[in-house]
């Protein structure tokens, strides 16, 4: 069972209060984009063993979206941050570099 800290209302919420929103930091490639880009946007996802970034919604609470950085292998949660960003914040990257030296995820490292 995951317990994630909602950065909006400050509650440490149980997974059952949240709705999963899939992978985080996906760039939307819309009309006019190349077929490869649209394919990437629609279908191509990471499936890492280790560091992963996800979207979650506090659906049974404040209703806001946030992102979580966690380890798919140990279920360790490195941190959560508001969804109004296109990349993981520096504070989260620092924690990751300490706990999982040499980590990389898509273009982030």
């Amino acid at each position: 069972m995951l317990i994630l800290h909602c950065p909006h209302c400050g509650i440490d919420c149980d997974e059952t209060e949240l709705s999963p929103g899939g992978e985080a930091h996906i760039t939307r490639h819309g009309p006019g984009a190349s077929d490869e880009k649209v394919e990437e946007y629609l279908f191509l996802r990471e499936n890492p063993k280790g560091v992963h970034f996800e979207r979650w919604r506090h659906s049974m609470g404040c209703g806001k979206w946030f992102h979580a950085a966690r380890c798919t292998m140990t279920l360790e949660v490195f941190g959560t941050y508001p969804a109004q960003t296109t990349e993981p914040p520096e504070s989260i990257r620092k924690i990751l570099s300490e706990k999982r030296p040499g980590w990389s995820w898509r273009d982030f490292a």
């Binding site: 909006h8 209302c9 400050g10 509650i11 919420c13 059952t16 209060e17 049974m60 404040c62 209703g63």
Partner: protein, 188 residues
């Protein structure tokens, strides 16, 4: 005009705690920038209580202000006052980015009162209800079994619960079942 009816008029159950449907309650959802002076002033004016802190619930009798989200307040008031209050808010916030909706008739309100009240709710929600973690002055939006709900405390052993009207019977049944005298756990 037809008489307004609450979801389960007179529904009550007595066990480890007393469960009652409280009847009609005025509720207004106010969305907007909660740090804006105009919004704060009108919220205070219509409710008669101070702006709540994060996750706070300032309740005085039938009136109150509850913090629902970083951009949302729930205004509590007597049922018949709600339309007037919405008009007042519309007038005060005209031209700003906000939303005020009378949601009174979309909701049901229950009161859980008595020694077992904390336990009854703790059986149904993942929220931490230990007396050290949750007490009067706070609101918690969470779930009760399978449906969203919010509650706050009006006294050391009294909870008020808000849920959607469409699930009122479900929530009443849940609470009554959790409050069965044979089902006491005496955890708190």
């Amino acid at each position: 005009m037809s008489e307004p009816q609450s979801a389960l008029p007179g529904a009550a159950f007595t066990g480890a705690a007393q469960i009652t449907e409280t009847g009609l309650r005025g509720m207004i959802t106010l969305k907007g920038d909660l740090s804006a002076t105009k919004l704060k002033n009108i919220a205070k004016k219509v409710s008669g209580v101070d702006m709540p802190e994060k996750r706070g619930a300032n309740i005085k009798g039938d009136n109150g202000l509850c913090w629902m989200a970083p951009d949302e307040l729930l205004i509590l008031c007597p049922h018949m006052d709600a339309p007037t209050i919405v008009t007042q808010i519309d007038k005060a916030l005209k031209g700003t980015h906000y939303l005020a909706v009378n949601v009174s008739d979309a909701r049901a309100v229950f009161r859980v009162d008595g020694q077992g009240a904390r336990e009854v709710l703790a059986k149904l929600t993942p929220a931490d209800l230990h007396p050290d973690s949750f007490g009067p002055g706070e609101i918690r939006r969470t779930r009760l079994a399978q449906v969203p709900a919010a509650f706050w405390m009006t006294g050391p052993q009294t909870f008020e619960i808000v849920c959607f009207r469409s699930v009122a019977q479900y929530v009443f049944d849940l609470l009554s079942n959790a409050a069965k005298i044979q089902a006491q756990v005496d955890y708190f």
